[in-house]
């Protein structure tokens, strides 16, 4: 057996003082298996050692919250006996090394987190970020990730209903793959990971354990260097077919009453699942590793404990229920083994070939895990740019619009979502490409909306504002489909927390998220943190991804964004100041990359959102779309392209700069379509609530027209918008 020393500990990703702490706690030198367990539990990915103290600040409570952060996923009440289990998780590091398997197992992992709690997955979403389109690796990474996400989700038979794809050079060396799943559960039949009772059988089910993914969690807690390709063997390999069987078998077992607790084996595999169950139940656990079903020969205790083979679950059963449970797993052709029992020792004890090979107090691994108060610095709010009139002189709205619509972050993503089965399960009533994906709650009148958002550009310019903005954008997406926003899950993707700047970005984004979610009563119920998204000293822009969900009590009242009828009015709710700094327009047309992000006014955000829901409830809105990247004109173009219907814009009043008006990215705005006969009523209601609005134009013909300034047939803008990604992928 390998002699453990500080050098080996450091190779495991531990710091020397952390190694010293381990020896002090144990009052001896750990053996190699024990060291492996410590390194898996104490790495950033599992221990949240840099983020824990800041995450405590998140707003996590609300009337509808059944389960907040700390479980496999968050749970919210959606009335009657129904609840939604949902979470977003990162799989960034593995996806860069091996895009197909990295992305696929990311999707598999998050679905497992959801069905572990007894919920049947009903929708998948994802947020993926790639380097610049010009970067040599981007195309293949994108292709691999999309295939991986599709390969797994499609086979599972769970629709992928929405997502987000961004390109920015800061991801050249570190792409982001964040996968989110929603599951539906009866709120009285939710399963948790907390073990209870001693001498209860501990059961291993699912795939066999192999040597894949050993130290995956440690890899995800390190920065990349030129030797990153050598880490390929630490990427897990997914088998969606087995996961589908595991899903059905688990749900079948859950229909009975034999499960005390259940936990999927995700990051750090058998190690973290067993320790987590015991830790939450304040128990000990004893495992005979000889009994673990292995795929490969001569696997050592170290390898078995650290393998991240996919599609495995750990279950604590009621005594005497083993045969009943085994029958179900036999039916689905899955491995089933009693590998140990719960104890009152409060230690994890591992045996292999009749010998004890490890014994560690659970406390040391969980509660005594290091927690750091990392140094961080505040990001100053950048100075606003004053664009002189000259900058706009030679510009034409026509050209600007065409250019903005083919910005990689705006252009149509059909090439991607055509590869995801988004209609299986027969309840998808709003497909990808809208404000949010919407699925019906099977067999009821209810529907759940979901979307994922991020705005790294804003977060980079000013993390606190950016953090607030993302939450608001998510909230707006819910409202735009007519759903009442309920709760969010966050995936916090950042650079190296040991650098003060990156740590500051994290802290301030979390502050922004907290402020907005508190104000909007849009609590965070689950999530994860991914640090060390950095290659050779170059970190990513701070990228919190926010996955939001909302509820429609009657799915027939869902709103969509395609224009409906000639002669209807378009109104923009919310004030347009014409904020161009950090906008798509500023980057593409003015080549201006500095300045503050648009200000987020939470009061207006809430008022405007509630007024839209109010109008919708009175049946006064035909169409709704929130205004985000690219401003009003981009939003209108998308509405037109989707419906094939044109818009005649009213001339702007006064001395407004039309570029600022049409491309500014001010927050808290929605474009709504109103029937002429409802116009007066709508105007009165908005005035009564002191909501700012402008009348934008009329639905008319098949062009977007602004007298003297703009005349573009929809087919023209559609072509560029629809083609950009397809052509990019073919070349």
């Amino acid at each position: 057996m390998v002699e453990v020393n500080e050098k080996i500990a450091i190779e495991h990703g531990l710091k020397s003082d952390e190694y010293k702490k381990i020896c002090d706690l144990l009052k001896r030198t750990p053996n190699i298996t024990e060291l492996g367990i410590f390194s898996a539990m104490w790495n950033e990915h599992c221990s949240y050692k840099s983020s824990r103290r800041h995450l405590k600040k998140l707003h996590t409570k609300g009337d509808q919250v059944i389960q907040g952060p700390g479980e496999n996923a968050g749970v919210v009440d959606i009335d009657d006996d129904d609840a939604i289990v949902f979470k977003i998780e990162s799989h960034n590091h593995p996806s860069f090394i091996e895009p197909y398997q990295g992305a696929a197992t990311g999707v598999g992992g998050i679905m497992r987190d959801v069905f572990t709690m007894g919920a049947r997955p009903i929708a998948n979403l994802n947020s993926i970020h790639f380097g610049s389109p010009e970067h040599e690796k981007t195309r293949n990474l994108l292709r691999g990730v999309v295939k991986g996400i599709g390969g797994y989700g499609n086979c599972m038979g769970v629709p992928t209903i929405a997502g987000q794809t961004c390109f920015d050079e800061s991801y050249n060396g570190n792409i982001l793959v964040n996968a989110m799943t929603l599951g539906l559960v009866n709120k009285n039949k939710i399963f948790y990971s907390k073990a209870a009772g001693i001498n209860k059988p501990v059961i291993y089910v699912g795939s066999k354990t192999g040597r894949d993914g050993i130290h995956g969690a440690s890899m995800a807690s390190a920065i990349f260097d030129e030797k990153i390709e050598e880490k390929k063997p630490t990427v897990q390999v997914g088998d969606p077919f087995t996961e589908k069987l595991l899903l059905e078998a688990c749900l079948e077992l859950m229909a009975g009453k034999s499960i005390i607790s259940i936990q999927d084996m995700g990051a750090a595999g058998l190690t973290s699942s067993s320790i987590e169950m015991a830790s939450k139940g304040d128990l000990g656990i004893e495992i005979d590793l000889t009994k673990v079903p292995c795929r490969e020969e001569n696997m050592t205790p170290y390898e078995i404990m650290l393998s991240e083979s996919q599609e495995r679950m750990l279950i604590v059963l009621e005594e005497g229920k083993e045969n009943e449970a085994k029958k179900i797993f036999d039916k689905w052709n899955l491995d089933f083994a009693v590998i140990g029992k719960t104890t009152n020792s409060k230690n994890i004890e591992l045996f292999f070939k009749n010998k004890k090979v490890a014994e560690i107090p659970i406390d040391f691994l969980a509660e005594n895990a290091p927690m750091y108060d990392r140094k961080w610095i505040k990001t100053k709010l950048p100075k606003e740019n004053k664009f002189s009139k000259d900058r706009f002189k030679s510009l034409k709205l026509n050209d600007c619009l065409k250019k903005v619509l083919i910005d990689p972050n705006i252009a149509d993503k059909e090439w991607i979502w055509d590869q995801y089965d988004h209609t299986v399960m027969g309840d998808t009533i709003q497909k990808p490409g809208g404000n949010a994906g919407v699925v019906r709650v099977h067999g009821t009148n209810k529907a759940v909306a979901a979307a994922v958002d991020s705005s790294a550009t804003y977060c980079h310019a000013h993390p606190q504002t950016g953090g607030k903005q993302v939450v608001c954008e998510s909230w707006r997406n819910m409202i735009s489909v007519g759903a009442k926003p309920i709760a969010i899950t966050n995936c916090l993707n950042f650079g190296n927390p040991e650098k003060e700047k990156n740590m500051g970005e994290f802290v301030e984004c979390v502050e922004g998220i907290t402020e907005a979610s508190k104000y909007l009563n849009y609590p965070v119920v689950s999530g994860n943190v991914s640090f060390y998204n950095e290659t050779k000293d170059k970190g990513i822009k701070p990228t919190p991804s926010i996955g939001g969900i909302g509820l429609l009590s009657n799915y027939k009242e869902m709103m969509t964004m395609e224009l409906k009828n000639e002669g209807n009015y378009l109104i923009v709710i919310g004030k347009t100041e014409g904020h161009l700094d950090q906008s798509v327009f500023a980057r593409n047309i003015l080549s201006e990359f500095n300045g503050p992000p648009p200000e987020v006014n939470l009061f207006n955000e809430k008022q405007n959102g509630m007024s839209v829901l109010n109008l919708k409830n009175k049946n006064l809105i035909e169409t709704c779309h929130d205004v985000s990247l690219g401003g009003i004109l981009t939003a209108i173009s998308k509405m037109s392209i989707k419906s094939g219907k044109g818009v005649k814009l009213f001339p702007l009043e006064g001395l407004v700069n039309k570029f600022e008006y049409f491309f500014g990215e001010d927050q808290g705005r929605y474009i709504i379509e109103i029937k002429p006969e409802n116009l007066e009523n709508v105007e009165n209601m908005l005035k009564k609530d002191s909501i700012h609005f402008d009348k934008l134009g009329l639905v008319e013909g098949n062009k977007i027209i602004l007298e003297n300034d703009l005349k573009l047939p929809i087919d023209d803008i559609k072509e560029g918008y629809k083609k950009w990604l397809k052509e990019y992928m073919v070349n």
């Binding site: 599972m156 077919f241 589908k244 055509d418 590869q419 089965d421 209609t423 299986v424 309840d427």
Partner: protein, 226 residues
């Protein structure tokens, strides 16, 4: 009318099919792949999905599964057997339908609405459908139909081409071929027209709030024709 939907491990459109059949009046039952006998049925459906993970080749393991002998016997005795998507792949693997389904021409999974043209209404599957062109949904990675020249001649001569990919006007030319299928073939019959395999999913189009309602026409006709 009684129908049976076979569930293979990895099937994932079984529930959708069950919902659709019941919605249009079938008394449907689910049958497990490891069973030997199928309860008395007027229609057997092999649903979409990834039976046995589609490992080896799509539908190949299902084509050798325990239940499949009963399906073959039922089909050979003139019973109606419908295979959708993976079910179509399984039917070609069993030899009940000619030809094979290869990987899509552009090597990507495709999930979208398509139009299909009904090529033959002299059968129970399409008899009373008034429309010539239906809008249905496809979601597959291996839907690129192929068969030998002789087989093609034979299926054309026998009117075995059931539906072809087309545009909304019914032009079933190469421009409207989503996956590279020979002759735009989206679905075929056996010689006696009691077996139908097709890639598009009618069960996903049974509600105006889903992708559309042309799938309803398919099921309505089916229960009326039986």
């Amino acid at each position: 009318m009684k129908s049976s939907v076979i569930i293979f491990p990895g099937s994932n459109c079984d529930r959708d099919m069950d919902v659709a059949l019941k919605k249009f009046g079938f008394d449907n039952q689910m049958v497990w792949h490891n069973d030997v006998k199928i309860p008395k049925s007027d229609l057997i459906v092999l649903p979409g999905g990834f039976s046995y993970g589609d490992y080896l080749r799509c539908g190949s393991i299902a084509g050798k599964s325990r239940i499949i002998k009963s399906v073959i016997d039922f089909a050979n005795s003139g019973g109606l057997v419908l295979g959708i998507c993976n079910g179509f792949q399984i039917l070609t693997e069993t030899g009940l339908l000619p030809g094979i389904l290869q990987q899509n021409k552009y090597l990507n999974f495709i999930c979208k609405n398509v139009f299909i043209k009904i090529k033959n209404k002299e059968n129970k599957y399409f008899k009373k459908i008034k429309k010539e062109v239906l809008e249905l949904h496809i979601a597959h990675n291996e839907g690129n139909y192929f068969c030998s020249k002789d087989e093609l001649k034979s299926i054309e001569d026998n009117g075995q081409i059931a539906v072809t990919y087309c545009d909304h006007k019914g032009n079933d030319d190469e421009k409207n071929n989503p996956n590279g299928a020979l002759k735009n073939i989206a679905g075929i019959f056996n010689k006696d027209k009691n077996i139908l395999g097709m890639m598009p999913h009618p069960e996903r189009m049974i509600d105006p709030f889903l992708s559309g309602e042309d799938g309803s026409l398919f099921f309505k006709n089916l229960i009326e024709s039986l």
